[in-house]
Symmetry: C2
Subunit: 496 residues, 2 copies
């Protein structure tokens, strides 16, 4: 680009159309080449460097003088080269993975349209689109036609915070003006395997993490309803006020589904708000074959559902749904008439600013809408069913492969938790074997990252040493990729 700078582009240089076009097209070439490489299985998932080494490989400083467009293009290339290819068919490390290219195109458009979701005034199409997409999602949840309100939020943790805050407002509207000193000591319940953001929400809202009780789970990782009921009774005896139960549909580690119907019954019996954190599992509602796992979700008072998980949207794309219409508004509006004027020349009930705990709010719906249209309901059904088939393929294969042991024998979802037991450990007494296993997964993971051929996460649990949690949520993944992973772990652990 012949030593051009940003000031040679539009809008600063009003005659800079040609330069602008050339620059943006070169950026796109870099991105296209990245996408091509990522989809080539012989390419590495990552090129691992420790932080201190990485800092030597790339200059991240902010300069005094402007950098040239050529230098910026080089920066783009370097950044991509040294990053982790989360869309690589052999990246199994995170629940959010894969790179849906229609969704990505939607995100490019979102960037170019660069608007803000607080008013119809400046986001007319996107506000209507959000309404329409949420209507569809509410239908899938199974609420009535006149029920349900929602808001796109920056991730599931904040969606859970929305839900807890709305539940509190529903029980004690005076808490909003007067604070927690005006209400009894509230307490809430969630399974021990639920996402830590439920506890996080209890901290932020001033309820306190000790007042967020962890209900034990069964051997599949599902909340035990009897234990929940017992704990609610106990809390009431202790003078606490149970106000919120968060069930999980698709736990983070085991992919378990809490028994929603039984939990709904208990919530009804004790007059407690019933929240379902379906951040991960919500997408199953798109599969007529598998949605039975969420039976009872239609009885929830609120639902968290992250399309950036099972629906494969780019990060961030998350929504919180509240069954009782008007409650989001009552909970969150702060009478900011100076921003959300009531005398504007259109129907201001379309404005969303007063329902949000954010002010400026990113457009996270366009990419989802475009992707959903590209698949239709049928396409999603196929995509999600295929992922579950792949999970079954992988499970039955490692069950037949020497050295592999299941943490949970029959995974319910797309999380497959397993150990790989190196030869040397296989005949040890169980106790010693388990003790040694603690260090095996981190060691394998370390070598895996050095090789850069694949990525899968591990974690410990209270009772179990470090194990791998494979996530099958990348539509790019095939049986061969799973075979590759199984063999790769064997190869890496050969000397351990």
């Amino acid at each position: 680009m012949n030593n051009l700078h940003a000031t040679d582009l539009l809008p600063v240089n009003q005659d800079g159309w040609k330069e602008t076009e050339t620059f943006l097209k070169e950026v796109v070439e870099i991105l296209l080449s990245y996408i091509k490489t990522q989809n080539d299985r012989s390419s590495k998932v990552l090129e691992f460097h420790h932080p201190q080494d990485m800092l030597k490989l790339i200059d991240l400083s902010i300069p005094d003088k402007p950098m040239s467009l050529d230098d910026l293009l080089n920066s783009c290339q370097e950044v991509l080269k040294l990053g982790v290819k989360t869309g690589h068919p052999r990246f199994f490390n995170q629940i959010s993975c894969g790179l849906d290219l229609v969704c990505m195109a939607g995100e490019w458009l979102t960037a170019t349209a660069n608007t803000n979701m607080f008013t119809y005034e400046i986001s007319p199409v996107f506000i209507l689109m959000e309404k329409e997409v949420m209507r569809k999602m509410i239908q899938l949840i199974g609420w009535g036609d006149d029920e349900g309100d929602g808001i796109f939020s920056p991730g599931g943790a904040i969606a859970n915070l929305y839900a807890m805050n709305a539940a509190r407002h529903n029980a004690f509207p005076r808490c909003k003006p007067l604070g927690m000193t005006s209400v009894p000591t509230l307490c809430c319940f969630t399974s021990i395997d639920s996402h830590y953001s439920i506890k996080g929400a209890a901290a932020v809202t001033g309820i306190g993490t000790d007042n967020c009780f962890n209900i034990p789970t069964d051997k599949l990782g599902r909340m035990i309803p009897e234990a929940l009921e017992q704990k609610i009774i106990e809390c009431k005896k202790d003078g606490l006020y149970p106000f919120f139960v968060a069930a999980t549909a698709g736990t983070t580690v085991y992919g378990a589904f809490d028994p929603l119907i039984q939990i709904a019954d208990i919530c009804e019996k004790y007059g407690v708000w019933f929240h379902v954190d379906a951040a991960w599992g919500g997408g199953l509602l798109l599969s007529p074959e598998h949605k039975y796992k969420l039976r009872g979700i239609e009885r929830a008072n609120s639902v968290t559902w992250n399309p950036h998980k099972l629906m494969g949207s780019l990060l961030q794309c998350s929504a919180c749904f509240i069954r009782k219409d008007g409650l989001l508004f009552q909970t969150n509006q702060m009478s900011a008439d100076y921003l959300f004027q009531q005398d504007k020349p259109y129907d201001v009930s379309y404005d969303t600013g007063d329902r949000s705990i954010q002010c400026g709010r990113r457009n996270d719906v366009l990419k989802l809408w475009l992707m959903w249209r590209s698949k239709g309901m049928e396409g999603y059904r196929k995509q999600i069913n295929r992922l579950l088939d792949l999970a079954q393929y992988f499970t039955s294969k490692i069950k037949r492969t020497e050295g592999y042991e299941m943490v949970i024998e029959d995974p319910q979802f797309l999380n497959i938790c397993f150990w790989y037991v190196p030869k040397r450990l296989r005949n040890m007494p169980q106790k010693e074997k388990m003790a040694r296993l603690e260090k095996i997964a981190p060691k394998i993971k370390g070598k895996m990252m050095e090789r850069g051929t694949t990525m899968v996460g591990y974690q410990p649990d209270n009772n179990t040493p470090n194990f791998f949690r494979l996530i099958i949520n990348n539509p790019a993944t095939t049986e061969e990729d799973l075979d590759f992973l199984i063999q790769e772990i064997i190869d890496i652990a050969i000397d351990m």
Copy 2:
């Protein structure tokens, strides 16, 4: 694209490279053409339609069958056509406006890299980049080399929530486990002109909006320090525990800067946390000529700063800085060892998940970093100084133009608040004139939206009828665009 579908693209169709490339390049052509049009002043800023009419113009439904790629491309074109061009040189409606094309390129790259900011493991480069950019911002705030921690957050409202929550944890760490019943009745203070998210944070945290006291402002919209001190004393007498003062550097409506030094003195005297909401004004730290307006910010305990405002980044790009190192971690970590393992094969102090109230967190730094590099410190200095010059140009011009009246005589920043008084009203007694003016701005705005030639927001204030608030924050804007606006309002209001 000959009736192709998403399933013909990568990764589902492994041989679909050619189709993928063609599709994405067609998307880019649509985006480029939008950018070109947006920078053409003869194009409209918007094509206004009421919600019910808009729904007739565009089909937003989610279909059962997949839509073809051609249909998706048409959808993209329609969406852009019916949207509001927030980057148009004559869009003055919102604090976040303009479309920096290097920043946009960065956002395209972000979409393609599609990763998550919670661990170094999957975002090595972006985690280091975020650290480096935050280090630079902390330097500009003026904290010491060993001071200051920060986190990118989805918008200023949530950044303010981070700050209030950290302040509470700092004063009463037992509140995190035990909740608000374990602490005195907390109260906080902010000016009556501050952003409503301070009140919002008081609601969410369970402090209560009535315990968030509005301190009056002077005629420039700045918090009156004497009134703050008086209120703190009063609250203490009433048995409340003052723990948090939020000063504003750049208020939303008037662009006022609270007197930070005097407020810092008061906070020190009474042992109260000193927060500066510099969401809007923070960017002035990049101008040696204008940063004096934020004098005293270096004494803050926490700062909110949104690069998606004055620095011109695409939405969302916002950060919360906490002076006391370690506090973000102590406040927000939930011991989620199953996600943020401590035995990983690299220095896990680089992981950020435990400092955040989010779990998944979007990469909002790359676009800022790339744009900042494209300008350098020098480029930003010029850009920001020029915006302030333009604000002065506009102010002095409307002061000389018949019919225009200033709400605040001498704007301190890039917000210019004014009335346009139609001829018929000019000679009315002041009281009657003011009463009639209430309806004038909405009327002008309505016609302006119908014409679609320009956009500027209006709002009322407690004591004043509806007035326009012009924001000059679009580097594309020129003197001629401001002249155009002045004349356009005159033309629209000719018969009013």
